[in-house]
Each structure stands twice: as structure tokens, then as C-alpha cells.
Symmetry: C2
Subunit: 380 residues, 2 copies
């Protein structure tokens, strides 16, 4: 048995040999991309890649066929990347993105819920000069932005304890809007009731289902019954109307004060860090130098490894995915679209080439936005 | 400009050269694994891989650094795969999985909801000989299985139009249960009311929020108000109690009949194909030759590309992921665990080696089950 240092020395020597061949192969890829720019043709020709793999696999022992397949898949994938990048550099118009000016200081912004809801607070943190208007549902917010009644809408997309708000992603697709801002806000729920209410007199708590989930342990400890409302501020308003000391709301302190409730206890959420990420949506796609995040939605061809293949492309460009989640495609059972966020900027060549590659290789791609990411002060 | 055939001939020749070197490198990997079996030591040594990459990148032009990084990452990853596979073949006890006999014909099975709910129907399709008992909540089902009151529990995990039931995944982790079966069922909602109710007399419809979402378009067309209930059968029962022709339930035809309602219209769901996937949960991990699916949950170290890296491992083993979704980790904002289903069987060497590699390289891995996948007749 050889010493590990000796084996590693061999490995390093082999890797240097492979590198030389790899650089030659990338030169060939450049020739291919020049040829395709002159003569047309897709960069990805699945039949050519399958044929190449089949040919190569003939000379490989069974126990290394899968390992080599991964290597060749990566080789051809980064070869395509190199081609897309060069082609887009030479002909930027290959990537068609209708980028319009961003409304950075909107006059009228809609949000879901009632005044003093967390959505209202996020709205005012994002757009302190805007007139803010509450809507009954998130769909109403999206509709108002599409119609032009509002310059922007503010809605929650994810909570650090409850997870993704699926409905918002469905609405983004349905109404064809774009993300212009992202803002993380610390959520601190309190429990509040009408005058004379105490923690012991309470039997039922009213709130939004997510807020109730975020306070599960607290609620269980007290043995309260749960009643779901459409919004935490709606719950606070209802408790004020009912004026019944057996009922309390879980809401923001601002909502408790606005509706004249007494705060029975603050910070009743289970986790110390309960944060919600909000987005602003606008009618057009925009991009600015300070943007640090890009969102897109894509669908895959239904083949083995295709999700992995599409995610690998992000790593090939050195672009870090911060989120991925799937949603079912309407009327196509067990087929999904994937929503992906990554650290990028639509004005950067890497991000643009990545998107160009995805649009060439996925069944469907829509860029949902390029935007800056802000956080409420004190957020970790 | 050369002809594309000539360039491709060069590429094929280069790939054959790379293959020879790759096979030599895999021989070295075998030596490394023999060394580590004899002397101990982890297969993945991140500092060694970083050092190797840094050394290699010195000789590479800027525009190819990312491409080569992907190639080397894949090379080292499949080299580790080759080592894990050999080590586990030589020493199967390296993978510790406490596999117990499966209860294939349970006596007592609990489900959430009421008799004639879809969950009850799924239950009887999976376990026709079992005594079935309804529980108020999914958590009650999980608790009863943990306590030994029930031999198995049946719960829904995913709907083809509404998506994942996040709560079930959280409960799987919280109660430490295992998946023993998976069953897809076609969901056909009807709308039903008390005697004398017509589609025009109805003003409000009661149902589970997911069922309401699945009938969104139908409900919108009729302008009905929505009222959320905990279960479709609970809604049917309530409508029977209320005996008010302005109110109707959205539920299964079986539930409508059981609670003496008149069916106003059948198949009111939006999609033609509305299917729900149910799982059976048991106290212990089991595996049988006919199993075709494996589920697991893992957490990643928080580094760039690590999600992609972990998914790449599935492709390296030729194992097809059928599902992936993330859930927030409690008390760790914006950190996630990933639930992954793939086509595999815990008794197969490929699946076992994959799991061994993941347990060695991820921060946390738990196998959630190995199980057969059944479908209601007529399901596409």
C-alpha cells in the first residue's frame, strides 16, 4: 500500500494532464460557437450529446460508467456555457429582456390586510413617501397594479418559521407582474384583548393561520382555541368589536394600539427570530446597478436529472441560489415549475449569460425581477 | 473556419484522452479508499479539495476558471462516490439503518377527518382489512402511531393542483415516524346541499381550504362566498346540520351521501386531473424488495453551491429525484432542511451507497422511508 502523499502526487499530475486537454476542448467549443454564429444552429444538440456518451461508455468498465457519465455531462455542459457566454458577448441582442425604468418612489402602493398589519408596516418601510391603501386580498393587490390603479403592490413571500407563501408565486405568474424590491422585516406578535381581558380570561385567540402557527407553542401552553382570520389586523379589529374578555387577537403591537386593545403579552411567537420577507411588485421588469438578487421561474423537460442539470448551470456561473421551490403546473398533474432566487444582477454579463443558457435549454423561463434586498434594522 | 464535423472529430479524440486519464484517476481513488479503510480518515477532506482547486486555477485563463472549477468539482465528487461505494461494499456495517419488519396488514389505522373524507377513502384503499378510526388533526394521527394506539396512520402529503402539505413534513420530523406506503388517489369534488338547495340558492360554500382552492374557478364563476372548515367531510356534516339552502359543501360524493346531502353538481374541481398523494406512516423504518421510492430529509452546510452539490450526488448514482422541497429550520431564520424523494430501494447497493455518501457529507440526514407506490385505478 502506497503512502497517501504519493497517491495524491499522482492525482495532481493526472489533473494537470486533464486540464491541458480540457483547455484544448474549450478551444474547440470556441470554434463551434463561431461556426454556429456564422451558420446558425442550437448550442445544445441532445442527440449529439447522447451519441457521444454512448460511444464513450463502450470503453468503460461497468463500475465506472455512472462516474464517467457525470464527468462527461459536466464537460459538455460547461462547454455549452462557454459557447453561450461568447455568443452573447458578440451579439447581446440574443437575450431579449424588456427592461423598463423602475418606479423607485411610487405615489400609490397597495397591500393586503388592514392598516397597522405587518404588510402595511413593510409597505411604509419600503416606500415612506407613498400613499398606502389596504386591499381585501393579495389578488386584489395584483389586479390593482396590473390595472394601473397602484404603482406598486407589497405582499409577503416567505416567513422564516412558516415557510413560503405559495399563493404569491402563483399570482406572480397569473398576473405577469415583476419584483422590484425585497424587504425582510422582524415579526413580533403580541396577544391583545379588550379592556378587562387577562391571559386567564382568554379562551379563544383570533389571528391569521400563519401567525397562529408561529405562536403554536405559546397557544398550546395556554390551551387556547384557535380561530382563523384573513389577517392579524382584521383579527385585532374583530376583537375590538366583540368586546369579550374570553377572546383575544394575535397581532402587531401597532394593530393592538390602532384598534384600542390592551396588550396582554408581547413577543409571543415561538422562535426568537421570526422574520417575514416582503416583495414589491410592479408592472414592468427593471434593473439597477445596486440590485443584488434575481428571481426567475422555469419548467424542465421531464427527463432524469434535468432538475439537477438546470441547477448545475447556476453553479457553473458561480451564482449562488438562495431559494428554490416548486409549484404544480395547472392541469398537468405532478409536473412542476420551479421558482429560483439567486445572487445576481440583470446588468451583469454572468447573470445575462446564465439566463440566456436557461432560456435556450429549459422548456420555459420567465425572469421575475432584479432587485435590491433590504432589511429592517436589527434583523439578523 | 473548419467544418463542424472536423471540430467534433477533435472533440471526440480529446474526450478519449480525458477518459484514459479519468480511469487512471479512479484507480488512484481506489488506492485512497484502501488506504482509508486500513488507516481511517474521512473520504471528503474539504481543505484538500480547496487546495487542489487553488493550485489548478493558477494555470487557467480567467474566462475558463469557472468552467474548470465545475469540471474539477465533478471529478472529485465522483471520485468520492467511487470510494464510498467500494468501502460500503467491503464493510456494509458502515451504513447504520435500523430496518424493521413492515406492518403490511395493520389491524388499526388512524386518519385525519371524518368518515367518508378522502383520507378515509385512501385509508380503505391502502388497508382494506384494517379497522379505521378518524382523528381531529393530523398531529393526533401521528401521536396515536407513536403511542402504539394505531399500527399505521394515513395522511395526505401532496395535491397535484395545490402542492405540498407542509405540515405533514414538519410532523414526520417532529414525531420521528417513517413512511411505509404511498398512494395516489383521484379527487373528484362535488357541491352538495340540504334538500331544496339549488346552485342558484347557494350563497356560501364550506370546505377545506385546499378543496376551495381546487375549485377556485368554479366558485368564482358562481360568485359564492368561501368558508373554511378543517375537512371536506366536516363541511358536509355542518351543511347537513345547518339545513340552510343558501349554504353548500364541497366534498366527496361519498361524504354527501353519508350526511344525507343532495348533490348539486359533480366534478366541480378546476383541473380534470386533481390527484392527492397519501402516505402511510409507521413507527419503524422498513424495506421490502418491491419498494420503488425512498424519502429522506437532509440539511446542508451553508456554503455556495452546496444544494447543487448534494443534488448532483443523486445524478452521480443515476437515481432520479421525483420531489424536492425545503422547509425552514425552527429557530434558524433562512436555514432550511430539504425533503427529497427518489426512485430507489433501501435494499439496493446504489441507494445504500448514495445514503452513505450523503450521511458522510451533509450536516444531517434521516431516511424517512422506503416504500411501494400505488395508484387508485384510473389514475394517470
Amino acid at each position: 500500500m502506497r503512502k497517501i502523499e504519493d497517491i495524491r502526487r499522482d492525482i495532481n499530475a493526472i489533473d494537470h494532464e486533464i486540464l491541458k486537454l480540457f483547455l484544448k476542448r474549450m478551444k474547440c467549443a470556441e470554434e463551434v460557437s463561431d461556426y454556429k454564429m456564422a451558420n446558425g444552429g442550437q448550442v445544445l444538440v441532445p442527440s449529439r450529446e447522447t451519441e457521444l456518451l454512448d460511444t464513450m461508455l463502450k470503453d468503460i468498465p461497468d463500475e465506472l460508467k455512472l462516474e464517467y457519465s457525470s464527468l462527461l455531462r459536466t464537460t459538455t455542459r460547461v462547454s455549452r456555457k462557454h459557447q453561450y457566454f461568447r455568443m452573447l458577448e458578440a451579439e447581446p441582442e440574443r437575450l431579449k429582456l424588456d427592461i423598463q425604468p423602475r418606479i423607485t418612489d411610487p405615489k400609490m402602493v397597495y397591500y393586503g390586510g388592514l392598516p397597522a398589519s405587518y404588510q402595511d408596516m413593510a409597505c411604509s418601510e419600503l416606500f415612506p413617501n407613498a400613499e398606502r391603501r389596504p386591499m381585501e386580498s393579495w389578488e386584489d393587490v395584483f389586479r390593482a397594479v396590473v390595472n394601473g390603479e397602484a404603482d406598486a403592490g407589497v405582499v409577503p413571500v416567505e416567513n422564516s418559521t412558516a415557510g413560503t407563501v405559495n399563493e404569491i408565486y402563483d399570482l406572480l405568474q397569473q398576473y405577469g407582474l415583476y419584483i422590484s424590491h425585497s424587504h425582510v422585516k422582524v415579526i413580533r406578535h403580541c396577544i391583545a384583548g379588550c379592556k378587562g381581558t387577562t391571559l386567564d380570561s382568554v379562551k379563544e385567540v383570533y389571528s391569521h393561520p400563519q401567525a397562529l402557527r408561529q405562536c403554536q407553542q405559546y397557544i398550546k401552553k395556554h390551551g387556547y382555541m384557535l380561530l382563523e382570520e384573513s389577517n392579524t389586523a382584521v383579527a385585532a379589529n374583530k376583537i375590538a368589536q366583540l368586546a369579550d374578555p374570553t377572546k383575544a387577537a394575535i397581532c402587531s403591537e401597532a394593530a393592538a394600539k390602532l384598534y384600542g386593545l390592551e396588550i396582554l403579552e408581547t413577543s409571543v411567537n415561538d422562535g426568537d427570530y421570526n422574520q417575514t420577507r416582503f416583495i414589491a411588485v410592479q408592472r414592468t421588469l427593471s434593473a439597477q446597478p445596486g440590485d443584488t438578487r434575481v428571481s426567475l421561474v422555469l419548467t424542465l423537460p421531464h427527463v432524469v436529472g434535468s432538475l439537477y442539470g438546470s441547477l448545475a448551470v447556476f453553479a457553473d456561473y458561480g451564482l449562488n441560489m438562495t431559494e428554490i421551490h416548486s409549484r404544480p403546473l395547472p392541469d398537468m398533474p405532478w409536473n412542476y415549475c420551479f421558482y429560483i432566487d439567486f445572487d445576481g444582477n440583470l446588468l451583469d454579463q454572468d447573470t445575462r449569460a446564465l439566463i440566456y443558457q436557461l432560456t435556450q435549454e429549459c422548456a420555459y423561463v420567465r425572469v421575475l425581477g432584479s432587485y435590491p434586498v433590504s432589511q429592517e434594522e436589527g434583523t439578523k
